[in-house]
Assembly symmetry: C3
Homo-oligomer: 184 residues x 3
């Protein structure tokens, strides 16, 4: 827990939880709807990554910090949602989604390399980590997933993951420390 990686992950979790809460606001849900959609969106990508990598139990069961972050962000969003216009919220979802995507692409690929996955699988796991939370958020809310409506998201994540893994593996291996310090 001394490295940068968990902090980047928590930041990504917080912004994805915000997108879940904002979708809950659009669907006029109650506080529990906010907490549910926020939490699922925030931890969904990392959970699938852990399951595919065989990390067991998944990270948030051992250390529920991520769940607490999601619930706190979702409730804060519930009590402030009315202060913002509908269009502002829609724009905030797109921006938060993009920021979360960038953070989760890098941290997801880092965790995969750290767990010994080959480069191509690490790229894919970066994309999976970055996109899956938003996909289940949209499916639960009854929308067609944003990742499919705006392919640019997946493309950006794929390009980012390729760059991250390439740098990490062939250009500057000492970046491994990013991941290396943070195991456990």
């Amino acid at each position: 827990m001394t490295g940068l990686l968990p902090w980047l992950e928590w930041a990504g979790i917080a912004v994805f939880a915000l997108t879940g809460a904002l979708v809950a606001a659009r669907k006029q849900m109650d506080p529990f709807g906010f907490a549910l959609l926020g939490t699922v969106t925030g931890i969904g990508g990392g959970t699938l990554r852990d399951v595919l990598l065989g990390i067991r139990p998944v990270t948030w069961i051992i250390d529920p910090t991520a769940v607490v972050i999601c619930a706190a962000v979702a409730l804060a969003a519930f009590f402030t949602a009315d202060l913002f216009e509908r269009e502002d919220r829609a724009r905030a979802i797109l921006w938060a989604d993009a920021v979360g995507l960038a953070l989760f692409t890098a941290t997801g690929a880092a965790r995969a390399l750290d767990a010994g996955a080959p480069a191509i699988s690490a790229v894919l796991l970066g994309v999976v980590t970055a996109t899956f939370g938003g996909i289940i958020r949209d499916i639960l809310a009854g929308d067609v997933p944003l990742a499919l409506r705006r392919d640019v998201y997946v493309t950006a994540s794929l390009a980012g993951a390729l760059a991250f893994v390439a740098v990490n593996r062939w250009v500057s291996p000492e970046l491994d420390d990013l991941a290396g310090f943070t195991t456990t």
Copy 2:
């Protein structure tokens, strides 16, 4: 297998399988649709719980009792579905969902505590176990998940899981026997 826990789980599996079969009836599916939706609904929540906890392979692969229960309930529902009115079936779905939710909240949290999860994660796994089967039932059937349309379900599950874990951990630890006796 000497404790109460597996019986409570089988009861929960049976009532959730019934809700899946009743949704299949509303969608006028054939017997295989009944069996598919019934089984997915009945074992979905426990399967996700096992995967997140890292129990491998998941419980129903080792002991397919749960699958047999689901298939039996779904086929019984298929042959009797026409005896009931459409409104009765809709009401039966709500009631069975509530009963299954209560049973799975408690058994899911108990299994999580039993596997060594921290209290807050056990609460969450109780909610996950209780809600996930119904969520995939509704997604497969093309409906917006009942858990999101009627937040009271998730709220009830959350309250139940909190109460169960609090009693189990701090008030009356001897209740651990409920879970303790039943490991494999």
Copy 3:
């Protein structure tokens, strides 16, 4: 890797990736949409099977051949999609789905038996492997899953899995070699 099983799996992966790409063509997605839907459809069923069986990490992380096959098929479909009529593509989806279903039913059940699952669980895992990729393809694309609209698919998979497991376990155990040779 000396047996027949991986070749049958790769064939199944390729035809399922084709169905995902053809659905992407119908939804007029860009190349990344083709690659995403193709890959998810091609590896989805085997991934869930691995997770349920507790094979960790899942097969395609260790050996990304399947991912490369999916991406190649999807991109080939993207560049040739315009050569075919809309009706031809719709028919091709149904045929490819049926072929993939048959291949994945057998290979999924074989992998499950190989991992020591009881017969009834192996039947179910054959069905899960064969149907799940197409189900998430349709959910992601915003359609009601084909497996639920055309129950005949699930029925065929169930019958195939029953036949495969019955032959494999009680009639001709030497067929075990099919699975036995291929355990990494």
